[in-house]
Symmetry: C2
Subunit: 378 residues, 2 copies
Amino acid sequence: MKIGIIGGGQLGKMMTLEAKKMGLHVIVLDPAKNCPSHSISDEHIVAGFDDAAAIKELAAKSDVVTYEFEHIGAGPLIELEAAGCKIFPTAKSLKVIQDKLTQKQALKEGGAPVGEFAGVGSAAEVEACGKVFGYPLMLKARTGGYDGKGNFLVKSPGEVAGACQVLQRGAAALMVEKFVDFEMEISVLACRTESGQTTVYPVGQNNHADSILSETRVPASISAETRVLALNTALQVMDVFKGVGMFCTEMFVLKDGGILINEVAPRPHNSGHYSIEGCVTSQFENHVRAVCGLPLGDTSLLLPVVMRNILGSDIESRGRAVVDGLDRALAVEGVKVHIYGKEESQHKRKMGHLTVMADTLELAAERAGEAWSQIKIY
Amino acid sequence: MKIGIIGGGQLGKMMTLEAKKMGLHVIVLDPAKNCPSHSISDEHIVAGFDDAAAIKELAAKSDVVTYEFEHIGAGPLIELEAAGCKIFPTAKSLKVIQDKLTQKQALKEGGAPVGEFAGVGSAAEVEACGKVFGYPLMLKARTGGYDGKGNFLVKSPGEVAGACQVLQRGAAALMVEKFVDFEMEISVLACRTESGQTTVYPVGQNNHADSILSETRVPASISAETRVLALNTALQVMDVFKGVGMFCTEMFVLKDGGILINEVAPRPHNSGHYSIEGCVTSQFENHVRAVCGLPLGDTSLLLPVVMRNILGSDIESRGRAVVDGLDRALAVEGVKVHIYGKEESQHKRKMGHLTVMADTLELAAERAGEAWSQIKIY
């Protein structure tokens, strides 16, 4: 079985490691010659994500095509799908999800819990929404955002024009969301096969720094009721998009224990990296199983687990990545370190992560913090 | 950090997967262009294991050199070591271990529990030993054997001449061992860094079919006393050989609960594959950590675990490997399947393995058996 992966970054790399373990043939498409997947894939098509001919070549060489990120043109994938190629998640679901406005509309229509939102075409329309939703108001580029990029928290009507200008620099269409005063951010992975087998992972509790995920703790410190709500919501999302493969639903836990969906990613997710060590079957293995039409594996949590991101610690400089303190980090009990192998480190770029399992979540968090403070990539 | 691995079979592949996870650069040396490690390593030197120039090239490109099997000429490694290259396990320990007679002598001198044995130069000497040790008598080629190859169980004096002829076909030097009427075969992995940090894994219980490992169950069904004896023996072995890296000690459990060492392998071992899913840190990750001078990871068992080998099921034919029933095997709860990606399947060749963790060993064994009966590679 040959699997084509669009994107050879860390998510593509971790998919590839699982696919190779199971003896599958992996072809990656990525413009970077030395991307993290390069050295571990059977074949690497060096081409841009918008290179329709290269994507066609990938599909021709593969039994199934998947992708590690959702910011790719859906057009070529829709064409390939129409021509009978297997693309998972489907190009149709990708197209709906990659536009945050149509994503929210689909979720709302499907009865999933979302906050108030609206598409906006001008600063005047943003201000009109501000009168209804109040401030602060979340202004978002409908496409292309990640790690807080493409989002702007507008604190007052006076900031609207400037915020629109910043986000529309890339000529992006915009939307607004009513600000959610949440208690906690959580995420839940769910996975589905084409034949409809579905599975869901434990709830992860996410901490962010500067809008970038810094830590995921599993299980989340939430009530049993909220847990059930969260798991059900993740499954509802699979049903709305008829998802095939791994989907991650980021949610807000409200002060009353209720749940609102923040965003859905149609792929394995940073907040699910804990599953590599923490669950019987990782998000990457189950994604590979799902897109290849294989039965899904057990998602049980083995022990409480904490994942911490390792970001590029350069402030001023960019350059060839140097890992410092791997030995000191690994000296902390129970630590597993993943270094993605990106050639160049940049300030706050995701360069690796580490995971700690322990008998208690507190102990895992303490050890993860200790190890994390020892390792630097610059 | 660049790690050179002599051998790109399944053990080299699993080392490579762990090394790549940690962002290390891997160069493999293997004569087979499409060996299991080929597609996942950064570089592949296609050369024979006895090609001194190629081994020199590997060492020149690597910060440390290790190997996946012990049947390589120690000569080139000893030279490289003398020239300052890091070779782990050391060439000196390799040289002693790869000759089963000097291995047993070293163990005996170090006070480790071994049965009676003797080097033999002729059929007459074997018969002389038979008079002392009795029959059946285990006749072994001193070098090059694996999976029962190179061993001959001589049942009576009349079989001595024939057995010598069979084993000496490769001009092998021979040794004899007094037959051990054991209760059970077990193995224990232990790992040591150059600086002397040492760790030991849980005891695995091994079942063989036709002298090839078929199943490992962890934890082994042995008494607490035997367990302590086994763990101590594995650590004693590390001390005897001043082992750096992963060593596997195969032992016999006697009817009185005592222990005798069968053989030592200076590398990760088939009977330790359970550790990939079953332990916090796998034998492959700890081997990589050890040879790279990194601290060793936690070897705790997460849950009872059973590993089953998947052997090539051809009887008559050899040919391009075909995997049948991966989907049916993965449909069994908790099953993880490893397919090595060998191009050619042969009768009884090790083509993959599967692992099942469960709340009880019985359940894990039942599920492993069920999954194993579903998958065929031919």
